[in-house]
Point group: C2
Chain length 186, copies 2
């Protein structure tokens, strides 16, 4: 939990808003990909959407002691294009989170000695690096006229770590065992 | 779709942000309710979360021709309390949407002659009225020491209309037939 309604709490809200919108956007783009015949890209979007849900709810939990309605400013990507364009927009959003948003939020959490917030931001940032790579790989496949190659994607329910084809024995981000991974198969 | 990036487009983004966060909050509060032994309240939260997902994605679709990253300011409720407290916070959020948010957004959409946006705001507002009533009923049950009475809740996948126990022959909000309802059972 956070100490009080400080800058870190505002950052948790903003990250919650951004992750909630990312969940919603990826669910939608996933349906577009499936409709356009890219089943495995649809499955990837669905798996990553679930990972963003894990991030959003982890942030919400750390913020649980602060009650009430708040105006939440958060960044979000918009627009519906071709699946190649949607994958590129998704990758750019992930890189913004890695380079700007979570990098800044982690620095503030450190300054304010907010350990729980620092951990949930750190886990999310490490996972977003993977998401950017997965979307890049999927875009390469789509741009060469194919579907995304892996038909199965695993997501760690503790931190959202996302891994194509199989689950690692131990989550490289949060240390959870293999059994904590959920499979998404197209 | 919207004509251009006008005030209605900004309102669609804000409503998308608010609905996305409502989805996430209700999913979380639903898990809390189940953990506390209120299975049917957990099921109600899950069904209403799905309805908010329908609202968010309907707004996203109307906004689909505007591309790029945007700072989205949206209202959201925070905090995790007892299930009775969570139901009350949920009801207050629904009433804010009915009385303030969607009432205002509909007026602006009318002024700007944005038909698609007006429809998605109107459908959501009608459904939020129902949500406020359902949360009030559930809170009454919980406050008298029982679980929420209905163990089954139906949601219209077109507009999010939410109905306990059974699906109406025709959705009273969007006119969709009975087959468009998804059942949530605890
Ligand atoms: Fe995330
Ligand atoms: Fe991500
Ligand atoms: Fe993990
Ligand atoms: Fe809604
Ligand atoms: Fe609602
Ligand atoms: Fe409906």
């Amino acid at each position: 939990m956070v100490k009080d309604d400080n800058m870190t709490a505002a950052n948790l809200r903003s990250a919650f808003g951004g992750e909630s919108q990312a969940y919603m956007r990826y669910s939608y783009w996933g349906k577009v990909a499936e409709k356009d015949g890219f089943k495995n890209v649809g499955n990837l979007f669905e798996a990553v959407a679930y990972a963003e849900k894990v991030h959003a709810q982890n942030h919400f939990k750390v913020h649980e002691n602060i009650h009430g309605d708040q105006l939440v400013p958060s960044m979000a990507g918009f627009g519906v294009g071709s699946t190649s364009e949607n994958l590129e927009a998704a990758r750019e959003g992930e890189l913004f989170e890695v380079d700007q948003m979570y990098a800044s939020y982690i620095a503030v959490a450190e300054l304010q000695e907010e350990k729980d917030a620092k951990r949930t931001f750190h886990w999310a940032r490490e996972v977003e690096k993977v998401h950017a790579e997965l979307f890049e790989a999927a875009k390469k496949d789509v741009d060469s006229g194919k579907d995304y190659t892996p038909s199965s994607v695993y997501v760690c329910e503790v931190c959202g770590h996302t891994h194509p084809n199989d689950a690692p024995d131990k989550c490289p981000v949060c240390g959870a065992p293999k059994q904590k991974y959920t499979e998404f198969a197209s």
